[in-house]
Symmetry: C2
Subunit: 383 residues, 2 copies
């Protein structure tokens, strides 16, 4: 029988709600990946990605796989066996970067931080002093597992002072908070389609600056993956002649293109502002409900709010009731934060006043609290 | 501006035409990859894939990437550094298998065959005699680059007599001609969503039998890719507890599910028959137009017809005119067959009488021939 998904409001760590406009773009007729009409479409899509990333980088395109494939594209192409790589680990995704580094024969120098805290620039500096041969530093801009945002601009400065390249995970931050690839001189970055861009999951925008490209061109060893080898992929996505590498996911790309158009129509800064305002409203409402955010004020990701589970509350039951009774999806804690936090996303199309109010009402009801003061407080912030 | 794709009839080497029913499935609301409703959907999808592959293999699921990602999933998980792997190369995709093998440190023993010819079982037997340590043989069931089908049943028998495992590329064959994973004892196989299943490109169904799983479980080295590591992926796709690995491409999976339902409603054997009948009709019509197929009769893939370009004909101009004047996409030759063949697909939803007739009419016009006798001849085969 055909699958009819239940109606949900997606306020977890992603996927976020996909608008009708993007959904209907997905359903446009499939055309060939070498069709001349598709070649023009690809150029537009790359331009829109450059807008989202705030970059002029020529090598900017969506990897044909989820964010994890984008992450691995970066690691596989930028790391060679024996390379020392400083990896900041303050959550699940920093850990994943470190594991990918080791799998391709790199030596991961892990700079750890308590989960929920931003990456400490001083510790990165120390690691680079102790490991002067390190040629790459990888860190996560917004840790989706904890809701903590790190100071990417400051970190990149330190990394460059030590002559290393900066690889930045922007999966959750792209489109949802300030991020400027060129102004901040980020050398390489990857993101995902299903967070603040609000396209369906399955694509991973990536961008590479001139120094990252030089590094890739100077490789002494082949990239272990044929699928993710940038030199091969770019024969299709770049240049004048589109040489077949793999068959591009046509309809998914229609969706991403439409989602990026929506971002461009709204404006990059306007979208950042919208996320921030709805975050502040949500935070106010949560406070009114007697709940607190897990991450300190200065490092909070507006688009992903880690809420501390109050003592004595069955966190899984709360999530189940929100889903079953209110059609509302929020996320559980991952790894060492399992059972300790809820992750409440306000990403892209999900960052709307009706979602903030609806969530506060629903959560209040499930927790057996008076709901009006909370939604009132949230509305006031947004008015 | 929103992208509005031109109307095309897709009769190239894939993607094939996607039906309205599958397109509309893509546009259903996105839900979370850990939603309980999605978990049930995943089980159904795996069952439908088992039906398509004719297998009971538990480890059967769609890789979150195009066919190339499925190919690499198989090679990366089944090959370890130093392993000898016999790879049959009779077209582009056999060559790709060989290259992937080398990239992960395997030693590819290439058994070559002229493009357009099926893999020679005798040569595979000789290679296995000369390389008794070879633990895996990889070959392409239907070479999309040439239109040649190899005798998979015969090849697997020989491979097993020598104690090796058989990895089979079924990208173009799944759903379009006889293929039975269990009855033929194929150990591992991968396919693509965009050929005879007629879903959009971007997903790669894979299946692994018990001996392939034993091989993977006995690995001494980690899989170089974290994204494609089956032991990690299966924590999400298999077992009772769906542990997050990467965010599944929700909407693309809706489309694949719907496409597989359509295959199940028609019947596996009925679909194979339909492809064969339309192929025979096309072949008859081409013959009437004075054209000939590149592959010998006994090895022709019904779903992908390599047509020899007649002397003196500008093959690229013919394709351009078919596209511009008739909205009809066919494929060019790849590699050493560039300029020598056209590749005419009759895959999945594209394998319909109106497409056969329309193509013969359009091609006849472009070549300046009388078109009625050809479409008449084709219709007669199908009546």
């Amino acid at each position: 029988m055909s699958f009819q998904p239940p109606r949900r409001v997606l306020m977890g760590p992603g996927p976020s709600d996909v608008s009708e406009r993007v959904l209907s773009a997905l359903a446009r007729p499939t055309i060939g990946h070498l069709d001349p009409a598709f070649v023009g479409f690809m150029d537009e899509l790359k331009d829109l990605l450059r807008f989202a990333f705030a970059t002029k980088n020529e090598l900017t395109f969506p990897v044909s796989g989820p964010g994890t494939a984008g992450m691995e594209t970066c690691i596989m192409n930028l790391v060679e066996p024996g390379d020392e790589v400083v990896v900041a680990v303050n959550g699940v995704f920093g850990g994943r970067l470190s594991e990918m580094t080791e799998r391709v024969g790199g030596k991961a120098i892990r700079v750890t931080e308590a989960w929920g805290r931003p990456v400490d620039p001083g510790k990165i500096q120390n690691a680079l002093k102790q490991h002067p041969a390190a040629r790459l530093v990888a860190f996560v801009h917004g840790e989706t597992s904890t809701g903590a945002k790190s100071d990417a601009l400051e970190l990149v400065k330190i990394i460059h002072e030590h002559g290393a390249l900066a690889l930045v995970d922007c999966v959750t931050t792209l489109g949802g908070c300030p991020l400027e690839i060129d102004a901040w001189q980020i050398d390489a970055a990857y993101s995902g389609s299903q967070k603040c861009l609000s396209a369906p999951p399955g694509l991973s925008p990536v961008t590479f600056g001139p120094n990252a490209i030089k590094r890739i061109e100077a490789r002494r060893t082949p990239v272990p993956s044929w699928f993710l080898d940038l030199r091969l992929v770019m024969a299709y996505w770049g240049g004048a002649k589109r040489t077949y590498h793999h068959t591009a996911p046509i309809n998914a790309l229609y969706g991403l293109h439409e989602a990026l158009l929506i971002l461009k129509e709204e404006g990059r800064e306007q979208s950042w502002d919208r996320h921030q305002r709805h975050h502040l409203a949500l935070a106010k409402g949560l406070e009114t409900l007697g709940l607190s955010l897990f991450v300190e004020d200065s490092a909070r990701l507006p688009q992903l709010n880690a809420v501390s589970v109050p003592p004595g509350v069955d966190e899984a039951l709360v999530r189940k009731r929100l889903l079953d009774e209110h059609g509302l999806e929020i996320g559980a804690g991952l790894g060492e934060l399992a059972g300790r936090i809820w992750r409440v996303g306000l990403m892209g199309h999900s960052a709307r006043v009706e979602n903030v109010v609806n969530f506060l009402d629903s959560l209040g009801k499930v927790l057996g609290k008076a709901t009006e003061p909370a939604s009132e407080a949230a509305r006031k912030v947004l008015s």
